[in-house]
Amino acid sequence: MDLIDFFTNYTLRTITLGTAILGAICGMLGSFAVLRKQSLLGDAISHASLPGIALAFIITGVKDPNLILLGALISGLIGTFWIKGITKRTRLKSDTALGLILSLFFGLGILLLTFIQKMPNANQAGLDKYLFGQAATLVEQDVLIMASVTGVSLIVLLLFWKEFKLLLFDPDYTKTLGFNTRFLDILITFFIVLAIVLGLQTVGVILMSAMLLAPAAAARQWTNNLSTMIILASIFGALSGIFGTAISATQNNLSTGPVIVLIAASFVLISFAFSPSRGLIFREMRFRKNRKELHLKKTLTFMYRIAQNHDNISHPHAIRILNNFQGFTKKSLLKLENQELISLSGKQWALTKKGYEEAASINKKLGKSDD
């Protein structure tokens, strides 16, 4: 597949648009899931929607994608509320509740799917695609549905923006202010379930949770601001969709879902490594820099203690006498000289006036206990 085809091929354009929109809505709503510590809820919901898909087919006997999505939505919602019931009513913890619903619903779904396979009028081919997703089956109508759901959830998000934000960061305060937290909770959960269900056809039941998490987790590394995070997450999600579709289109035998997930995962990896404020690389660099500065300051205070005993603060001393102190190296001395804190001449060093003042202020900060 050539690059030119990518822009001219109608089917491919539809698919790319679909995965991009899906990525964007997942990033948007996933941000809430991640911040509300409900990361694994997505995994549970997507698995829990499988029996709904199968039942919708058994009951109606037709393979209407909209009906199937409705079934998935209902079964996903039942799963979600059962999880809440289990954690609220029994002593089972949320991880157990999630794992239970995930696997039990999925098992029921598999039972129903294999049951459908054996049905006499089995026109079931195509239900399998909900397991791993098949972006290739996206048609214009699917993309339209995705776009309108994205639009609606965007409007709802904007309408309830401050309520959602407050609920996210301080649920108790939200309640005391008189907002209906239960309603808000259900509303946001409903939209998360909706986003997951929309993605089933494209990414599949099993990998859908990553679609929800990865863009949001990546975006979280770049900002501390909720709106920026949501926008970034949508962009990351959309880009994962576009690149994933493009890459899987260029190769045979490469399903779109896993590729999209891997692209999203690499966004996370890059963000973990390179984000300026939280990223691991910069964090390590800051650690090192701090450690070096600490060493310099240690050397400087040591010099200060020596210089203190002399009338002339800039009285030169031999570098040798620093020997019993391990903090100094030739490099660190040069660095101190560069900062005009000391002056070096031959094998002698002397504190400058600036250096003396600097060291005095450090010493003061350290507390008087040392003097």
Binding site: D43, L100, L104, L108, F115, I206, A217, V259, A265
Partner: protein, 386 residues
């Protein structure tokens, strides 16, 4: 029942037991979702092992896949330690990525590999009896029976050897550390056993349903008992029961064995979740209702003790002043009378001697909080509960 059917049931029962034992500890340690992560992320290890050995039951493949499982745990813990994302997000990020790699590996080599995605997801229990193990050309049973049997035996012997260490580190990590047991060692030991079990069971029931076999029996048993030993026994029993009944359901419906095993587990969990004595939903709701009535009764008695005025102790006053509905007032009055805590003279309520004594003790309990629980007090005075 043919011998193949019998063999399938034995394998299913062994798988269920092998999963239930580590599952009990995972549920108690609040690490149930780790089993989900392991079961997905062993896929790349499994595929690579399959490329090398070409045999799904080879010990080398099982080892390689189990190592992938442990690597997943380490990776998840590493991400958690960086503090860049919250704990559960780390799990949610790692396993889909590894699973995707596995899926792509399978898809790219679809032509040369006899390993398809359906088998990975659903398992092939029905075909298990056809893959025989032969020693010196003598048939000694299905391969997977031997694999899962070995795993189960290892698990049980490890469990017996380290039972008290596991128990201690599960319930009191701090004490275990001070007593010199390494919780870290036990943690990774448990993770290794779980990984090996998942890989061994994988062949039979598939990647996701193995999670059901690990979590569901243990979670159900947790709602039924407080004792670790009983919990282990109950979860093994539930696992075996649903394995066998699931097999016959699958036979009847002509559907996936793994799927119906899980569905049986689901049905059992639903029943226990709703009806378990003490911890089931209905008994919790029932208990909450009783407690509400008994708290109201206590409030009422304290009110009586505080007031000598006739109008404050009039029956109608309950509805007017304390704002209780008619039904609620009547329930509470009846309960108090049945327990000989009050006497009605006309429409005026008086505390009996017993009522005064109870109220005073309750007041002492409330103000000093010295008694361990008000439940003891209630048990002492109440003939009839709310």
């Amino acid at each position: 029942m043919t011998s193949a059917q019998l063999e399938i049931q034995i394998i299913a029962a062994l798988v269920a037991m092998a999963c239930a034992i580590p599952g009990t500890f995972l549920v108690l340690r609040k690490m149930a979702m780790i089993s989900d992560a392991i079961s997905h992320s062993i896929l790349p290890g499994l595929v690579l092992g399959f490329f090398i050995t070409n045999d799904l039951n080879s010990p080398f493949l099982i080892l390689l896949a189990a190592i992938t499982g442990v690597v997943t745990v380490v990776l998840v813990e590493f991400i958690q330690k960086t503090g860049l994302v919250k704990e559960d997000t780390a799990i949610g990020l790692v396993f889909p990525a590894l699973f995707s790699i596995g899926v792509i590996l399978i898809a790219k080599n679809a032509n040369d590999v006899h390993l398809d995605i359906d088998a990975v997801l659903l398992g092939e229990l029905a075909f298990a009896p056809f893959d025989r193990l032969e020693v010196n050309a003598i048939d000694i049973g299905p391969k997977s029976l031997w694999v899962i049997g070995t795993i189960l035996l290892t698990t049980i012997s490890l469990l017996l050897l380290f039972f008290k260490e596991l128990k201690l580190s599960t319930f009191d990590k701090g004490l275990a550390t001070t007593l010199g047991f390494s919780p870290l060692l036990l943690h990774y030991g448990l993770m290794t056993v779980s990984s090996i079990t998942v890989v061994g069971a994988f062949d039979a029931v598939g990647a996701i349903l193995v999670v059901a076999l690990i979590i569901a029996p243990a979670a159900t048993a947790y709602l039924l008992t407080d004792s670790l030993k009983k919990m282990l026994l109950i979860s093994c029993f539930l696992g075996v029961f649903s394995a066998i009944s699931g097999y016959w359901m699958a036979n009847f419906l002509d559907a996936s064995i793994a799927g119906s095993m899980t569905t049986m587990l689901g049905i059992i969990f639903l029943i226990v979740y709703l009806f378990a004595p003490k911890r089931g939903v209905f008994s919790v709701i029932y208990k909450e209702k009783h407690q509400r009535i008994e708290v109201s009764l206590l409030v009422f008695l304290l009110h009586l003790q505080n007031h000598v005025e006739i109008e404050e102790r009039h029956v109608d006053h309950l509805q007017k002043h304390i704002n209780w509905g008619k039904v609620k007032s009547k329930t509470i009055l009846d309960l108090a009378q049945k327990n000989n805590l009050i006497k009605l003279s006309g429409n005026i309520v008086n505390l009996t001697e017993k009522g005064t004594e109870f109220t005073e003790e309750a007041l002492r309990y409330i103000t000093t909080n010295k008694e361990t629980a008000i439940e003891d007090l209630k048990a002492k005075f109440f003939l009839f509960r709310g």
